[in-house]
């Protein structure tokens, strides 16, 4: 009730400085660090030892479950260390360090996969190491396999790219439109139930919209949807509603409403892999931000330290600001310039000290800006209030009643808050509290059973 047209309501700066810049390949870095968890799901299991010689595209870690993904060497050289790596989200995972020999020799195992039905397509995509390149990192094979369980009639290709600065998807759409077309053709062939393919692109990328419209002018199954330039268009539930008017219910998946959402760069990579057999070892990445001298789009091996990328764009204008994996709205701040980029890093954003310094937090003035900004109609003030309640049971009950689970952590509420309240930040704390509480309940139940 009481909403019109599109979801998403927040104007944020675009700053797409690099939209017109073709991606440049960087010189191979001296070493790379490949964390075993670059995706949603179980971390991969290393299958190499310290001292092993590896080549580009050689598998160094095996997927360790249904929702998982293998990892490949992104440079040729020697495995120097298997260490533990503290991810920016606070989890620690094993990581393989490879010292490059500078040759970038391709592995001999690389051959294009044989694909002749859905089964073999899913197997090939699983082997490619492809995960959602837009940032979520959900293994693409698992998504495609969803076709077997639910009736999927729509594939949405996410080219919204709603974060400030990032233009790596823009460049994919402009430079790799042939691959995009091949990708669509492949999906058409092996997903016969799918009746429509919809590209969702924000209207601040008219070149991309024009290019794709021309490309698919004669194809009735493909539609290019122009989305408003209002953050967060790229959110999964948001783009599904804004392109198909379908509502993904609470606790359900896009496949429950007949949709698969795939990032446009993921689609292009899939097509490339089916042709060449080279797994996911490099990616395009935008390096920009108020502290970057010459912003650029780069293609870099996965595992490249941030430092090498920043050097490749001429360095920082000032030290001591923030360096972010991804864009300024949802990206995670890096602890050091030695941290590596992963499969899901679409951008490195370096902000100046001025832009990194937050204004003081003052009292909530009850203005309602956060409520209006929330793309899924939550009331962020309720969550913050609930966290202050006495008693864990009460807190969790109140958080769940107000539907904290629907929050996608897009950050619109915190962005618009004139008092700089930590709203989305509180939501994360609330979510952690619910998780903890539920884990505790399960433990209690187990203990009871055991007795």
């Amino acid at each position: 009730m009481f909403w019109f047209g599109f979801l998403g309501n927040t104007h944020i700066p675009h700053r797409k400085n690099t939209a017109g810049m073709a991606a440049e390949k960087i010189a191979p870095p001296g070493e790379v660090l490949l964390p075993m968890s670059q995706h949603i799901g179980a971390p991969a299991t290393p299958i190499v030892k310290v001292g092993d010689e590896v080549k580009v595209g050689q598998k160094i870690a095996e997927a360790s479950g249904y929702v998982s993904s293998p990892i490949y060497a992104s440079v040729s050289g020697k495995v120097s260390k298997i260490e533990s790596y503290l991810r920016p989200d606070g989890r620690t995972v094993p990581a393989i360090r490879i010292v490059s020999d500078g040759e970038m020799t391709l592995s001999d195992d690389i051959t294009p996969p044989e694909v002749n039905d859905l089964e073999s397509l899913v197997r090939a995509v699983r082997e490619s190491g492809l995960v959602g390149l837009g940032g979520a990192g959900f293994p693409t094979a698992v998504k495609l396999e969803g076709v077997k369980k639910a009736k999927i009639d729509t594939v949405i290709i996410n080219g919204a790219e709603c974060e400030p600065y990032i233009t790596s998807d823009t460049r994919t759409m402009l430079e790799e439109s042939d691959l995009i077309k091949e990708g669509i053709d492949t999906l058409k062939k092996y997903l016969p139930d799918v009746r429509s393919f919809i590209f969702g692109i924000e209207k601040n990328k008219p070149e991309c919209i024009k290019k794709l419209k021309e490309l698919f002018a004669l194809d009735e199954a493909v539609r290019v949807a122009t989305l408003p330039s209002l953050y967060p268009q790229g959110g999964e539930k948001v783009i599904i509603y804004n392109t198909t008017m379908r509502v993904v219910p609470e606790g359900k998946l896009p496949s429950d409403v007949g949709c698969i959402v795939m990032n446009v760069t993921s689609l292009a990579f899939m097509a490339k892999y089916l042709k060449t057999g080279i797994p996911l070892v490099e990616r395009s990445i935008t390096v920009d931000g108020s502290a970057i001298k010459n912003p650029k789009n780069l293609v870099a091996p996965i595992g490249t330290p941030i430092r090498a990328l920043i050097e490749a764009v001429g360095g920082l204008t000032e030290e001591g600001g923030k360096v972010i994996f991804g864009g300024p709205m949802m990206g995670q701040a890096a602890c050091s310039l030695d941290e590596p980029i992963t499969k899901t890093t679409g951008a490195i954003t370096a902000l100046s000290i001025k832009e990194s310094t937050e204004p003081p937090v003052t009292d909530c003035i009850h203005c309602g800006r956060c409520v209006e900004a929330c793309p899924v109609f939550l009331n962020p003030t309720v969550f913050s209030h609930a966290l202050g309640l006495e008693g864990k049971d009460e807190r969790v009950a109140r958080l769940e009643e107000a539907k904290l689970g629907l929050c996608m952590e897009c950050g619109c509420c915190s962005y618009v808050c004139p008092a700089n309240r930590p709203l989305v930040q509180n939501n994360r704390i609330g979510k952690a509290e619910i998780r903890e509480y539920k884990a505790h309940l399960i433990e209690l139940a187990k203990a009871k059973e055991g007795r």
């Binding site: 009730m1 909403w3 700066p13 949802m330 050091s336 009292d363 989305v424």
Partner: protein, 324 residues
């Protein structure tokens, strides 16, 4: 290379609007009304505004010191309360009464409830209502005087607000003795110093809407409701126009019914609040003992605000119904 990096959680961007900026916008929006009040009612109006503002800001400053709270006067919200309070008082108010009103508004209505954003009733309105009930000078300037004043504008200003006349005279007689519509728009009539000049108030309202500080629906729905109901009850469209131009409707609808703390958070709730306030205003004006009802209407709606907010909340997108 200095390797120190700043680490915070996302979002890393922030909209430039701050609480202080919002309150500054409200002060800017009030400035035409302040200027108009001085032109129409003389320098005493400026003295009143200065006194209420000074005492409002001062009492918040001293309160914060007494309770050892972080100083909050720089958010300018107490200055807004001060200016608004003065604009809602007639020139017959004594200086000391202005000071008492401002202290009451800030200390009792706002600070004791936890300060900005936590008070449930609008401080300026509550203080005005208190003064109306407590001080004869306030009530007199606002409502009393000779209802049969004729002739010059000066007399009119010194005399009654048209609302008093409306109740007592036939429409023909009423139009003869009250200011014309252009005079009403400019504020050449009796009443509180800031409520009269509709042009200045609307100017401020447009500024606030353009700056996205307030929602346009609120004043439009509030004033619209009063107009339609007055028209319905009197059966006279021109007379209904007097009803909306008289009293404190415009200042109330633009600056008080849009107060953040005391109105619902959600947009639908704000609209319901405005229509409800309009309805109550008309009920009090036509059927109550007081000729003016805007302040009372807003105050009553302030109390209902949390419930309106709850009832008007949007269902979260895709959210399942909660089991009760």
């Amino acid at each position: 290379m200095n390797e120190q990096l700043i680490i915070t959680t996302s979002p890393h961007f922030k909209h430039p609007t701050t609480t202080q900026r919002i309150m500054l916008d409200v002060l800017i929006a009030l400035s035409p009304a302040v200027i108009a009040s001085v032109i129409i009612h003389g320098w005493y109006a400026l003295v009143m505004i200065a006194v209420t503002t000074l005492f409002a800001v001062g009492s918040e400053f001293i309160f914060n010191i007494c309770v050892k709270k972080t100083q909050t006067i720089s958010d300018l919200s107490s200055a807004v309360t001060g200016v608004l309070l003065a604009l809602n008082l007639p020139t017959s108010t004594e200086i000391w009464q202005c000071a008492v009103g401002a202290i009451f508004a800030i200390v009792v209505v706002k600070c004791l409830f936890g300060g900005i954003g936590k008070n449930f009733a609008n401080p300026a309105i509550t203080a005005r209502v208190l003064m109306l009930l407590a001080f004869a000078e306030v009530a007199g300037g606002q409502l009393g005087g000779n209802p049969f004043v004729e002739g010059s504008h000066a007399d009119l200003i010194a005399g009654a607000t048209p609302l008093v006349n409306i109740d007592k005279l036939s429409p023909e007689m009423f139009f003869k003795v009250t200011p014309s519509i252009p005079e009403m728009l400019l504020g050449l009539r009796a009443g509180a110093i800031g409520e009269g000049c509709i042009v200045a108030l609307v100017l401020g309202g447009i500024y606030l809407i353009v700056r996205r500080v307030i929602k346009w629906e609120v004043p439009v729905a509030f004033i619209g409701t009063v107009y339609l109901l007055s028209w319905l009850i009197t059966g006279n469209a021109l007379l209904a126009l007097y009803y909306i131009l008289s009293g404190g409707l415009f200042i109330g609808a633009i600056f008080m019914a849009t107060d953040y703390s005391t109105t619902p958070l959600n947009r639908l709730g704000k609209l319901v609040f405005a229509i409800g306030a309009g309805l109550l205003t008309v009920l009090i004006r036509f059927f109550g003992n007081y000729p003016e009802g805007v302040s009372f209407a807003i105050l009553i709606m302030n109390i209902l605000s949390p419930y309106i907010e709850k009832l008007c909340a949007k269902r979260p997108f895709g959210g399942a119904k909660n089991e009760k």
